[in-house]
Symmetry: C2
Subunit: 208 residues, 2 copies
Amino acid sequence: MTADDESLTRSERRRRSDAAILKAAEQLFAEVGFERTTIRAVAARAGIDPALVMQHYGSKQGLFAAAARWTGDHQRILSATSDSFPRVALDDLLELFEGGDREAAVALLRNCLTHPGAGRQLRDEVLCERTAAVRALLVGPDAELRAELLGACLLGLGLTRYLLEVPAVAAAGHDDLHRLMEPVLRALVDPPSVQPPPAADQPPAQQD
Amino acid sequence: MTADDESLTRSERRRRSDAAILKAAEQLFAEVGFERTTIRAVAARAGIDPALVMQHYGSKQGLFAAAARWTGDHQRILSATSDSFPRVALDDLLELFEGGDREAAVALLRNCLTHPGAGRQLRDEVLCERTAAVRALLVGPDAELRAELLGACLLGLGLTRYLLEVPAVAAAGHDDLHRLMEPVLRALVDPPSVQPPPAADQPPAQQD
DNA sequence: CAGATGGGTCAACGGCTGTAGAGTGAATCG
DNA sequence: CGATTCACTCTACAGCCGTTGACCCATCTG
């Protein structure tokens, strides 16, 4: 693939082809999904033999398990406050899918409705696990349901913007998305049935 | 399948097997997706020969095109007012996916990320077409983007509740979903930058 | 009743898929 | 340096898939 295949130690060759396989798999799983991705196509894009993919990852399922994963860091969400959550969650989403290594996450999203493992992973590791953390930020009743609904809205935004490419959503700038979506998320963080912090009702008096 | 295959006129037999094929196809496309659904499995569930499926629908693509479609009626949304929209849109979604013939719609949703035709159909016919109508309800700037974001949030709710089955969202009652999600949708119908119609019940005198 | 029609079945083809096993040659090591 | 390891390739298998064409036989038509 690159220049010299010579003068490479064995473990270097191993790591290099391993990375090439994984990268090709992430791209193909993200582009056309699990079923339409063939081992042969992955191998061709990685510039190696199909059988090598099996030796490295055991099976197509194993390859998918390694390639499709949520690459966002949960830490930033965890350290958000109830106040900053809408902004931070949106930023996280936009950065993840517009950053350099979005493929693994797109691969997970692309297949979450048709590949049982991907669906389970998205539900359990991304939506539920995050939910458990986000729930701690939320006061008032229905914290768990509200946390999951926050995930649902963010998921809807991600899908329409990056996978379905619904025109206006896909073309919108970050500022517009923040301006329009933050109040949406806030409606779940501070639902009408819950008085926003014990403070006064709602009058102008805003402080940070 | 049913009792008597005898004493049926030819066109009756035709219509009957046609309906059986379509129903089986809707179910399988909804359950396991396009790729994992085989003509043979559809035929087996319909109780007929695989070749008959081809004679009736031409190809697997043709069968899918007939089976996966949005069965909700756009009329109710169209006749909503800006005020009633959140409630009506939610009701529409819940009724569609908890009614008797949800399979065709689930089939469309299930495959919208991996089947190019399904994705295009969901985007163009459901999200965009509805958007064009909903946009008319919305006053203020960014009407198109806000309309599409409304679709995105509803899509996220539908996917997490009916396909991914995220626990709390899937188990929630209609009343809880209405109570929590209506304010969310309202944040897009009446974004903070737009004065909600000549103020009425809202707490007095808010201005920006 | 005899021929035409068409819904339905049967068997098969060609292609593609994931996967396995034997083999090769260069890097590694005693 | 000789033996061994191991990343890599080649070839092939077995199975499943969408699709097709020939063939039945109950229904329709004259």
